[in-house]
């Protein structure tokens, strides 16, 4: 008898399509509710639409290729999140809106809905998120999906890299509604911890957010900003940075300046890509899959 295969069956059958699970994030003691089930979402980040320069000779084509790759996935996700720096910064408010409109038009080609957007400092820090809100709505919000509580935190609309007391109070009030063992996913742009403060890879009051999250047993953070895959724990909270889709950046603190890594003509799009997240609540873990811009 034929039956619809789920994502996990698909992964077993395909051997992950040749891209491989690179990280599994455990959820110890997670309590399953009646509405909880496994699901799958994608994280795309740091598309920097509007960037031009030698680090990416295909600056106008990379995002479109990534959208095509997502649409070509054999198994489509439940939803997609963009974790900031949708556009590359510009001092010109008219140009900023033009870039956002162009980005939005390209992202609208994604077959899967919903697509959720978050700002990065390139989108929001010069106007406190004004243009971003016009195009994409609120800069911080929550939603629930199959028993997982998602919290989008804005640590970029304040150019000082602050979440701010008002948003922290909002976060505290939201968390009060959650059970201590509820599965919680935080989406944000900058790292909430001091990854490399000398490169501005930090959130100045991120420790306050982590302190609020610490009493909750099953918290996982997905963020962008650093244009590379990175995994770190603060206590029991796992933080996973995603690759970007315009240019890769060097490993944290590995060189004096955070200049983009050079484009390699022999390996175009090297260091760029997007992420699949399998929420396997029954197995109490998230499995992360890193996809290239173009499938080899």
């Amino acid at each position: 008898m034929a039956h619809e295969i789920n994502r996990r069956d698909f992964l077993k059958l395909t051997g992950l399509g040749g891209v491989g699970v690179v990280f599994a994030s455990a959820l110890p003691g997670v309590a399953l509710g009646a509405d909880q089930d496994e699901f799958y979402f994608l994280q795309l980040s740091d598309t920097h639409w509007g960037f031009e320069g030698p680090p990416n000779p295909d600056a106008k084509g990379t995002l479109k290729k990534a959208v095509a790759s997502v649409n070509a996935l054999d198994y489509q996700p439940d939803f997609i999140v963009f974790t900031g720096d949708l556009t590359h910064t510009t001092d010109n408010p008219v140009e900023r809106r033009k870039r956002m409109a162009e980005f939005k038009a390209i992202a609208s080609e994604l077959k899967v809905k919903p697509v959720r957007f978050m700002p990065g400092e390139h989108d929001a820090s010069l106007d406190n998120g004004k243009a971003f809100k016009e195009f994409f709505g609120a800069t911080n919000y929550t939603f629930d999906h199959k028993g997982v509580h998602f919290i989008a935190l804005d640590n970029v609309s304040d150019p000082r890299a602050l979440i701010g007391d008002e948003q922290l109070a909002w976060l505290a009030a939201d968390l009060k509604q959650q059970k201590k063992n509820a599965p919680i996913v935080v989406l944000t742009h900058r790292p909430l911890f001091d990854l490399a403060p000398q490169w501005d890879w930090a959130t100045r009051d991120g420790a306050k957010a982590i302190e609020l999250l610490m009493p909750y047993q099953n918290v996982t953070v997905f963020y962008g900003h650093i244009h590379q895959e990175h995994h770190q724990m603060t206590g029991h909270i796992a933080h996973h940075a995603a690759k970007g889709l315009m240019f890769p950046l060097p490993a944290p603190g590995s060189q004096p300046n955070r200049t983009p890594l050079p484009w390699d003509p022999a390996q175009p799009y090297k260091g760029l890509g997007f992420r699949g997240v399998d929420a396997e609540l029954k197995e109490a873990q998230y499995k992360l899959t890193e996809y290239p811009v173009i499938k080899a």
Partner: protein
């Protein structure tokens, strides 16, 4: 001596004692060396000067100003950060406690080349 007079005498003696100890304290203090003042100007998207050489343990005062927008001076390896507000001078005292070359940066997003707005401080023995 009335109780009131006695109280006044005790109070006066106490005041004299405190003043004497302050005088002793002030005299006992060695002359403070004048701290070197270094002026640093921020503008989109650089700091001038972009490099300083300091001596370990020798305190300096950084006088920071911005020529355009609000900036953030951040020297995380030596635990110093301050906002630089237009039309104001921000004074930061710095006592380098280790040798090496350390990056300082603007940590308030200020525009297209914000990520290139940084400099270095070399601390020598």
């Amino acid at each position: 001596m009335s109780l009131r007079r006695k109280g006044l005498a005790i109070a006066a003696a106490a005041v004299i004692g405190v003043l004497a100890s302050i005088a002793t304290y002030v005299i006992a203090q060695p002359a403070q060396p004048k701290e070197k003042v270094i002026k640093m100007t921020a503008k989109r998207f650089d700091y001038t000067p972009g490099h300083l050489t300091l001596k370990k343990g020798e305190p300096v005062i950084l006088e920071l100003t911005t020529l355009d927008v609000m900036m953030g001076f951040n020297l995380p390896d030596l635990g110093v950060r301050a906002d630089i507000i237009p039309d104001k001078v921000t004074r930061v005292r710095l006592v380098p406690d280790k040798t090496g070359t350390f990056t300082f940066l603007c940590d308030i997003f200020c525009g297209a080349k914000h990520e290139e707005m940084n400099g270095t401080i070399t601390v020598v023995d």
